[in-house]
């Protein structure tokens, strides 16, 4: 059995490093396309202010990008350092999208980012625009491959267990690529990044407008961000709804937990606006419900049920029993003692093998597990309901607030009165943290909602870890906290310094502080 403290610390480290990395990624995703829009206007109109906009927001982009790179390296290696059994067990499938991400996306983004900063005087206008576009394309393609990999963890397809190699092996690469969860997740996540970039530019521009500084520069930036942001936030919400439908198909336990739905009710299911999930009593107190909505989101129908947690636990218990048998047969096969009948029996129930592995948390010998252990393992297939229930709702709330802000910004930009609406400018400024909050909360919903699985139905999280000592993990966790905190302070300080300077930092002589000095 793997030490529970090692599992917890490994999870904590992965969560911290991933959440931290994801402070920088969404801004890279969004800001890069905003740079493309601004530079396109520059190339088409030849107005220098659009070049200044590209270069100024590009400076902030660079400060953020450096941190994205620094923290991303860790993640590429962490599956090996801390999740080595995972790396062995599913590397045959999971490694491929990560490697292709490097080949197709990360190289593109990282090679052209250098030309973006250093190539202004060496490239023609159109060439430079192409470079900026390739940086943006690279960052979004990168997200695509990472989410193909992540979607496979949520909804593994196109893979088969090989008893001889004791691991999952690729059966169909196209199933991995065209995993429906991947497509939905990619658009939802990339669009969330675009929202982040837009909110950042919108909020900072609003601040310049409130201060009455560099108004021409700020108004134009505000307008670009408003339009791009509205389109993006609409896609996030639409695709968020589409994810709900996918969950209804493939991750019913996660959906039931997000809904804190313990019982299966008569269709169509209602959506809980509010409630206090009670893990012990297995019920939800003070629920405020909107009829029909959940049934429509999850099943796109009014007559199909959305299964409750208790029903799903019951189904999991049956699979755990079969999985324990499968594990016993697998051991016989690997010891060379299996008869032909054993092999046939194994092939019939091998899809449940992962459920048998859940018992490894309670016993070294799953095939000899007691009914009490099986019951324990079945109950442990329920994720932390209050966490996913609340993170999900707060994420949605943040999304709708941003929808309102972008819609209002677009409306008043169209009427050319956005600059006079101080309430809107203030709201945009104060809303800057919202997209980050929503993204992190969404990540927590998605990843904690998948527990106890590292790979849904195939590999329990507790088995996936490396065999480290607690001391090793404290060293690494301490190191990350130290390095990351120090860098966060530096990054935010530098970002604020350049935001305060504004476009005057370009040294063109055209902006606020330079004019004041002259």
């Amino acid at each position: 059995m793997v030490d529970a403290a090692v599992v917890d610390l490994s999870r904590l480290q992965f969560a911290l490093t991933a959440l931290y990395h994801f402070l920088f990624v969404p801004l890279t995703l969004g800001l890069s396309f905003i740079l493309v829009i601004m530079e396109t206007v520059y190339v088409m109109t030849g107005k220098p202010i659009y070049k200044d906009m590209t270069r100024f927001w590009g400076k902030l982009f660079g400060i953020n990008f450096a941190m994205g790179v620094a923290t991303g390296i860790t993640l590429e290696f962490q599956f090996g350092t801390n999740w080595s059994y995972y790396a062995h067990y599913v590397g045959d499938i999971f490694g491929a999208p990560l490697a292709i991400e490097g080949l197709m996306a990360f190289f593109l983004e990282s090679t052209f980012i250098g030309l973006f900063f250093f190539g202004w005087d060496r490239l023609s206008r159109v060439q430079h625009l192409l470079v900026t576009f390739l940086v943006a394309l690279g960052s979004s393609l990168s997200a695509l491959w990472i989410l193909i990999a992540n979607a496979w963890m949520q909804n593994p397809m196109g893979a088969e267990f090989n008893p001889e190699t004791m691991r999952m092996e690729l059966a169909s690469f196209s199933d991995v690529l065209f995993n429906p969860v991947a497509q939905v997740k990619f658009v939802h996540t990339a669009a969330a990044g675009y929202v982040t970039g837009a909110m950042f530019v919108l909020g900072v521009s609003a601040w310049y407008m409130l201060k009455g500084r560099d108004l021409n520069f700020a108004r134009r930036s505000f307008a670009v961000a408003a339009g791009f942001g509205l389109a993006a936030v609409l896609s996030v919400i639409t695709l968020g709804d589409e994810s709900g439908y996918e969950l209804g198909e493939v991750q019913q336990m996660k959906l039931a937990s997000i809904e804190s739905e313990w019982q299966t009710h008569e269709p169509p299911a209602s959506f809980k606006l509010f409630g206090i999930p009670d893990m012990q009593g297995r019920e939800t107190d003070y629920a405020v419900e909107i009829p029909w909505v959940m049934g429509l989101i999850a099943t796109r129908s009014v007559d199909e049920p959305v299964y409750g947690i208790k029903h799903l636990v019951q189904a999991n218990r049956e699979r755990i029993v079969k999985g324990a048998r499968a594990y016993g047969l697998l051991q016989k096969m690997r010891a060379g003692e299996a008869s032909i009948a054993d092999r046939v029996a194994f092939n019939e129930i091998k899809d449940n093998l992962g459920y048998g592995l859940l018992l490894k948390r309670y016993t070294d010998q799953p095939s000899a597990a007691t009914p009490a252990q099986i019951e324990q393992a079945a109950l442990a297939t329920v994720p932390n309901v209050p966490v996913v229930f609340w993170t999900f709702r707060l994420m949605v709330l943040a999304g709708f607030i941003m929808l309102f802000i972008f819609a209002a910004a677009v409306y008043f930009c169209a009427k050319r009165t956005a600059g006079d609406k101080r309430w809107l400018l203030k709201m945009a400024l104060w809303a800057i943290p919202l997209p980050w909050l929503a993204a992190e909360l969404g990540w927590i919903t998605a990843e904690m909602g998948r527990q106890p699985w590292a790979i849904g139905g195939i590999l329990p999280t507790g088995l996936a870890v490396s065999s480290h000592s607690v001391g090793d993990l404290i060293f690494s966790l301490g190191g990350f906290v130290l390095f990351y905190s120090a860098l966060a302070v530096v990054e935010v300080w530098l970002m604020l310094k350049y935001i305060r300077k504004g476009p005057s930092s370009l040294g063109t002589g055209r902006y606020h502080f330079e004019q004041a000095a002259a």
Partner: protein, 379 residues
Amino acid sequence: MLFDYTTLQLIWWGLVAVLLIGFALTDGFDMGAGMLMPFLGRTDTERRVIVNVLGPHWDGNQVWFILAGGALFAAWPMVYAAAFSGLYIPLLLVLFGLILRPGGFEYRSKVDDGRWRSSWDWLLFAGSAVPALLFGVAIGNLFLGLPFRLDADLRSFYEGGFFALLHPFALLAGVTSVALLAMHGGTYLQLRTEGVLRERATRAARWMALVMVLAFGAAGLWLAAGMEGLRIIAMPRGESVQPLAKSVAIVDGAWLDNYRQAPLTLLAPVAGFAGALGVLLLSGRGRGVLPFAASTVAVVGVLLTAGVSLFPFIMPSSIDPVSSLTVWDATSSHRTLSIMLWAAVIFVPIILLYTSWAFRVMRGRVTEAHVEENSGSLY
């Protein structure tokens, strides 16, 4: 599938070698120049020249490292799992080093303050020197064998501490690696700077070439003196890899087997020496293309020497030789290797194409005058 499994496994050994060599050749000169920077650059402007020589390319160069990690995951998942979890502390130190580098490039010149800039210079130095040293130490330890074993479920267990890795032979390999990359960085700076900075880079490259020849030679003598190595006695072949099914013997001098059987492979160490000697002789002459070319030959030669000596082993085990991971039993499935080969065949040439274009656009020497004129926009 076009290739049979064994052929594909061999091709993937070559592809991993290509990626690691790509990493050592490109990120190698970044690290080398980063290590030399605080010593070669005496004024802020001189240091900025070096940072701006590297500035447009360091990020793209570093992707070779990340890609090598991804390729190991996809092609050699057991190696990725056992090596990175086993070498946990050293790999973390490498990562911490690499985490510092982006700030060293991107943040250093964004604040006009001497202490700020010199702090980042030393962080950039550490972020370059620590990985360079530890990569060498890790490769040295592959020759000694790592204390890991696999259990029946193929879970890997590592039974050794960090300080046990600092064996004299491993440290010798570490010195070789540092000298090799510093030499490579020195030759790159000869190509991209001018004046006094270029002269200092020339001198540094020569010294480092000398250290590299001595350390590489000493390591070679150590091997020739009969260091224990592993030899495969029997290896079952099939469509499923089974790392625990082979039999392995411990033999004195086994790491020289390949040179005895295929003397042509001796070209690898010869290239290592010849390249470094080339740097010694050619540095300071002409435009700087020749010493850089010689250094490139040296880097390729040294890396191939490590790979060829160990082949077909990738990760030998010192406590349970049967658990050692090899080219034939640590790979992904036939299908995954085949698909990933096509991905590499399509994308690696494209990457080489646009990377060369990026270097072409930014070609030429970075001068102090250029840095001072563009103080606001450069690194």
